[in-house]
């Protein structure tokens, strides 16, 4: 038995600095994009974005000193707390309004974002406690379905389609890595597809309009197709190398809505072209690859699953956003991690990276 504690020097040496570096580069890119989005000014977004990035990075360093085993103990309580928060949110905004935010002291916060982390921790904790021979039984997979289903329904209810889908796909990915037999995987895909009509009935009118627009851009009543059209024009006109920093006429002329949040990728594409966009995708792959590599290196099952979950979460953020702005998915409202302006998503990403860091630093094999 080695001692439980890890010294400060050891901690610093074990921190996956390469991940932090990539995250830092992405935040800087984000700040530059936001500087451009406000026509070359640090206000209102770029400056705050950079500050939040610095706070997020320090949070990762603080989490490095938190013993990872505590997360395992706290996984279920954290999960319960996030469910309570979601229910409270529905109770507050239950008058047909969109209830996604909690506001305190001028700071708005979207509980559905960190819920993803809570769910992946709970799932990892669950599979960690299951003996391997049970992984073949269908009964083993009922609790995780409920654990995912409850927050999923609550988030659909808000309604926040983008986050709900990411949550569902992320859970399926964790189940898959945990050892879900292939036949169940196929069954759950079928189940997911058959849930579509139910989801549809839960959507708000403007969201239905967005989905309809996506399926049939010609019949556009609400201007939801307008967003996609403008996004495609801005992206497409960027070409190989883009029009140059601060020269994106589509974005700068305000043809592009939400350019500081959901459509920031579009703006980068207009100003830096395919090269700019591909570089960003490359950076994300580097970061996600780093996280998945760590997941294969860590010794405990719980740590392994948690890291996979974080990697999948990061990937889904990127996938949903890029697919949306290129017109492959309806406009659901999904940020680009570390680049879009918005505190909650950034916090969630850094939280995920912090958990991975803690997993590496305090890595120990499962106790027999």
């Amino acid at each position: 038995m080695k001692s439980e504690t890890v010294g400060i020097l050891q901690t610093i040496l074990r921190i996956p600095w390469h991940l932090l570096f990539v995250a830092g580069v992405l935040v800087v890119i984000g700040a530059m994009a936001l500087y451009s989005a406000s026509e070359g000014s640090w206000a209102p977004w770029a400056g705050r974005h950079a500050i939040r990035g610095a706070i997020g990075a320090s949070m990762v360093l603080i989490l490095a000193f938190i013993n990872f085993r505590l997360l395992r103990i706290w996984a279920y309580p954290i999960y319960m707390a996030s469910i309570v928060m979601l229910v409270a949110l529905l109770a507050v905004g239950g008058d047909g309004g969109v209830a996604r935010w909690i506001t305190f002291g001028g700071f708005t916060f979207q509980p559905s974002e960190p819920t993803k982390i809570a769910v992946l921790l709970a799932l990892a904790r669950y599979f960690d406690s299951q003996p391997l021979e049970r992984m073949r039984s269908v009964l083993t997979y009922l609790p995780p379905l409920v654990m995912t289903g409850v927050p999923f329904m609550l988030i659909v209810e808000q309604p926040d389609l983008g986050t709900a889908l990411a949550l569902a796909l992320g859970s399926v990915a964790i189940l898959f890595v945990a050892g879900l037999p292939w036949r169940y995987l196929l069954a759950s895909i079928v189940l997911g597809v058959s849930a579509v009509p139910v989801l549809w009935s839960q959507l708000h009118d403007y969201q239905k309009a967005r989905v309809m627009t996506f399926l049939n851009p010609g019949a556009d009543q609400l201007g939801a197709g307008y967003q996609i059209t403008q996004s495609k024009i801005a992206l497409g006109s960027g070409g190989m190398f883009g029009k140059g920093f601060l020269m994106g006429s589509q974005s700068q002329l305000n043809y592009l809505p939400e350019k500081q949040t959901d459509f920031v990728f579009t703006m980068i594409g207009e100003e830096f072209g395919l090269v700019g966009n591909m570089s960003i995708l490359g950076l994300y792959l580097l970061m996600i690859g780093g996280v998945l590599t760590i997941s294969m290196r860590v010794k405990s099952r719980f740590a392994q699953l948690t890291c996979v979950g974080v990697g999948v979460m990061l990937f889904l953020y990127v996938f949903v956003n890029v697919a949306m702005v290129t017109g492959l998915l309806p406009v659901v409202g999904a940020p680009l991690p570390l680049i879009s302006y918005g505190g909650t998503a950034m916090l969630t990403v850094f939280l995920g990276l912090g958990i991975v860091t803690s997993a590496v630093v305090h890595d120990r094999p499962d106790v027999e």
Partner: protein, 650 residues
Amino acid sequence: MSRKAKQKEGRRTMGRRTLLLGSGMVLVTSFLSGRLYQLQVAQNNRYKRLSDRNQFDLRIVPPRRGRLIDRKNRLLAGNAESYLLHITPLYADDLDRSLAQLGQLVELGEDDVTRVKEAARKGPSFRPILVRESLTQRELARLAVRSAYLPGVTFEKTLRRIYPQGALTGHVTGYVSPITSREVEENRSLGDLPNLATGKIGVEFALEPELRGQPGNERVEVNARGQAIRVFRDFDPQSGTDVQLALDIGLQQHVTNVLRRGQSEQVDMASPSVQQAIASDSDLKLHLASGENMLLRDPIGKITPPESGAAIVMDVHSGEILAMVSAPTYDPNMFTDRLLTRDWRRLNAHPRNPLLNRVTAGMYAPGSTFKMIVALAALEAGIINESTRHFCNGRMELGNATFHCWFENGHGSVNVVRALERSCDVFFYEIALKTGIQRIKAMANKLGLGDVTGIDIPGEKPGIIPNHEWKLATHGVVWTPGETVVAGIGQGYVLVTPLQLAVMTARLANGARAISPSLRKIEGDVEFPELGISESALRIVREGMFEVMHGSLGTARSHNLSSNQGGMCGKTGTVQVKRITKEQREAGITKNIERPWKERDHALFVGYAPVRNPRYAVAVVVEHGGSGSSMAAPIARAALQRVMEVNGEV
């Protein structure tokens, strides 16, 4: 298999599947990259063309905002075409020369020119810069003829919100102004609408969803110089709904005039004596600088600004508001364009805050107009009946405090009807004490005081009807009997809005039905629930209000409506703003008009007409107006007289 081997096996599975997952991600990312390549490289030319505005420019067409009309279909808020002039530096060969040319065709101020040059220097050259708003027809015609020689100059038609009645309905309509980022934050779908103006206050805010409508979109074919050649409409915008209000503009105008004039005469602003008065009075200068265009000569010959306050006329059966006046007011047209800082500064410099809607958000002590509530509470509790008498000798002792009646010699022995007629304070001190604050509060709440009325405009204040719990919660000390005495004549902590007073009066007049005020015109009959106040108690209180206007000693007997119009009932109220010391009382300095304006009493009046089958209720508050009977009652009578003339008898 041993446990160890099993674990190894499990780890291997997980590793394999993680790799699989990773490969899947790489695959999906490649697919996304393919899509990006397709858009940005393969179809680059097509999108470049679109972006260079060489072919189509997709535009959102803002919807026409619904109009507001009064009960007789006169326009309160409508839309006028307005043209904006832009210049795009990229297409203008020489900005300075273009601006000089434009200056010969349209009116351009020096500051306009510097603003445009500044914007061109700062922003990218492809961004159109606003040169002028609200072009006149003549300017437009001149521009249209020359447009071929003016590269980079575009003009665009927009709809501008107009308020034909201007300041007269400012507090009713409220105003619209450009959408704020905060609103977009709350409703993401608004983010797609450039140049949208949304209601910020008044009916414009309250009925925003109805008035807004749905945007359409159009594709504009533009040539290489950025000028529109043809327009294709994909979707027509859907106009917002027109809304008819209960307001009667004629009545609104009349009530505004009588309220602003009060008991004074309008003076000729040009006369030397008036000019001299203005020169020597900084307060008058402030009023004139903030856009006031009327001055008065008060009964003692002093030049003063118009009166400020609130007046409401309401239908007692439907709750419809026929007039709602808050003075001073402001012109909502000011807010439609970019608000000029000068105008804003002037509004804010006005000594009497014209932006405050005194009807819904002005809080005043109700004074003697509160006595009906106390009387009803006492009658309903069985504390008094019609013949219960109290002796008033001009004061009441309680512990070591003395509470005075406004009539120092005392009213003698009075019952509740006489006490209302002559507004005897001592009678109400006595019965308030016996009834207790809790019952008084319950009755006040029943008649609509102490909470918002739910009128269709934002920013309403609830007022205060105090009791034991309220006192503890807000002041941390217990309620004392002395405070009940003061509350009994509507002073102390009690605060109401003029709108609440109108609701209270309408409920007294309509047989205690729980009407609520409505700015919308109401078609057909509406039924409101009963409040559960006994017919006999109501009859006694209304008799008191009848005697106020008809009794030989009624406080407002000289301001009654003529009997062929059915007469009226009412109650005066005079609220001290500044305590008068004993010495001053003895020295006899009690004449309001001789005190500085800020120290004069508020004048209140509530009433309804006709006496039989009441139809209209009215509430008037004149800030620092002196006395309720001489200042507020005539205004109320004038309002009732007009509304009866116009609408006749039922």
